[in-house]
Symmetry: D2
Subunit: 173 residues, 4 copies
């Protein structure tokens, strides 16, 4: 029986202070739930904050890096997955996560959100801007799930899981 892996996606260098606080808290909640956290692995922004939050709560952290080595990797990553494939690794982040939380927005993050919609992975936007929520809901062909904060986001994730909508690993899209 494999572990339940969930992703937290968000900006690196461009992340705001609020995004990082939300990500840190969310990382902690994920760890306390017994889930494994997966991020893009960088030592900056939302990726680093979520990883430190999970680590601080005793969780396990997987970092899927775009690079062939771990230069610039968050110190809180337990399992480095080195892809050497630049942003092509974004597909791996999306496919490997049974639920994807999005905190903040950037071009890289938007590509992961779009790929999650494309491949049918469940997504939850944490405190999104209204224009991002509108545009991506239109792209998704229906209202995307969103939450005011980490607690609400976790509640939605648990509901998706109970409703069987957090893709069981062998039945995904």
């Amino acid at each position: 029986m494999s572990r339940f892996v969930v992703g937290v996606m968000g900006p690196g260098e461009a992340a705001g202070q609020e995004d990082m606080e939300l990500a840190y808290e969310l990382g902690g909640l994920i760890a306390r739930e017994g889930w494994v956290l997966l991020t893009g692995g960088w030592r900056s922004g939302v990726m680093d904050a979520a990883s430190r939050g999970a680590k601080g709560a005793g969780g396990l952290v997987v970092g899927v890096l775009p690079t062939p080595d771990s230069e610039g990797m968050s110190d809180a990553v337990d399992i480095p997955i080195l892809t050497g494939m630049r942003e092509a690794r974004n597909l791996i982040n999306v496919l490997s996560s049974r639920v994807l939380f999005f905190v903040g927005m950037s071009a890289g993050t938007a590509s992961e959100l779009a790929l999650a919609l494309k491949t049918g992975r469940p997504v939850i936007l944490v405190r999104p801007s209204e224009d991002v929520l509108i545009a991506f809901s239109r792209i998704a062909g229906g209202r995307i799930e969103s939450a005011d904060g980490p607690e609400g986001a976790m509640r939605i994730a648990r509901e998706l899981l109970e409703a069987g909508r957090a893709n069981p690993p062998g039945k995904s899209g």
Copy 2:
């Protein structure tokens, strides 16, 4: 001296009639300009329409497919690039195109637009919806180029080229 390759990105099955007409016309203009057309290669929607447009005007068409074979490939593709990498091929579409035109919108298309912004490739949206333009301009950190139709889009592409902003192959990203 390598050929000038430009991409036309857009929905497959989900494309509307207007998108396909715009894409067909744009493909023809690209071919008549002497440029090579690159698309995602499918025999549907914007990809197929642009490819047929370019082919009809005597152009050369490269199709970069997500599959390991050419099942489902547009008949108008001259050079099939078979990746077997699913949507990870979207990064290749973006990196290989010196200018990217977007006609219509879908989750897959949005991932390519986001990757183009991430990697600094010049993008031109053809007749975009207002909410997509607003959301992605915010993500890009500045107004994205857009045009009312194929002629206008080509004019912008030529200006980018003259201004040296259509990445010369050895100086990109």
Copy 3:
């Protein structure tokens, strides 16, 4: 401080009985050493045997799958990394492993051995056939490390680690 991840590569369906016994034993030794095991993730052959060996010894197992879902995944995988990239995932196996053990040989395994040589990752062949050892030593430009069995292979891996040749994550290839 991230965990020390090592790979065991080898045939799936085509694996022989001896290869699977060697892989099972090696997986156990890796787990008892406190290292994380990484494999290609399938529920067959060397990948499955090494994973079950590590799991049986209380270890942590990462499976990097070529598929977009976990259909066919070894039951002993703790952390599924779903790539959807077919054999392009072989590069990830290689880059993410600080030492690579090879047990048995097949076309897929040979591609991983070749990529490990290409990217400079340390490799150890466990009980290789003489012609494979000769051909790949010539390709490597020097004798490749090999061992008669799992115990000997672990000894070489520890020596590489002590000699600083098991790439520290931030200084690789």
Copy 4:
């Protein structure tokens, strides 16, 4: 009807003088046959020599690069495919080629030969060393095709094509 694309794989910097002469001649024969040449795109070794040979004979050359830009690309490449995926691009070379010629040997080349065997693409080794031929024939589970020179290699390729064994694009592995 798409063009018939064939690959010539071989070492870059490490190529010997003889390999480059063979590759140059082979590139010319491929172009005169009306086939499109695909290589790994570098301005060195077998890739560059084959590309220049094809170009000199009026052919069309596709270069599939591991980099996100065309720094270091052979001047004889007409269509640059920029992947940014390092050696993961080797899978693309293999899948996109309906026949693969191998001239010389290196770690990168060996990974492409192994992937071709794995994915069932037809391969022809041009003047291989005996130990490489033996090892890879064993890995392939049967004698691999080989030729003494470019003319012989082309003859085998034509026979494969006539026998229907050069994968039709929509029926591959």
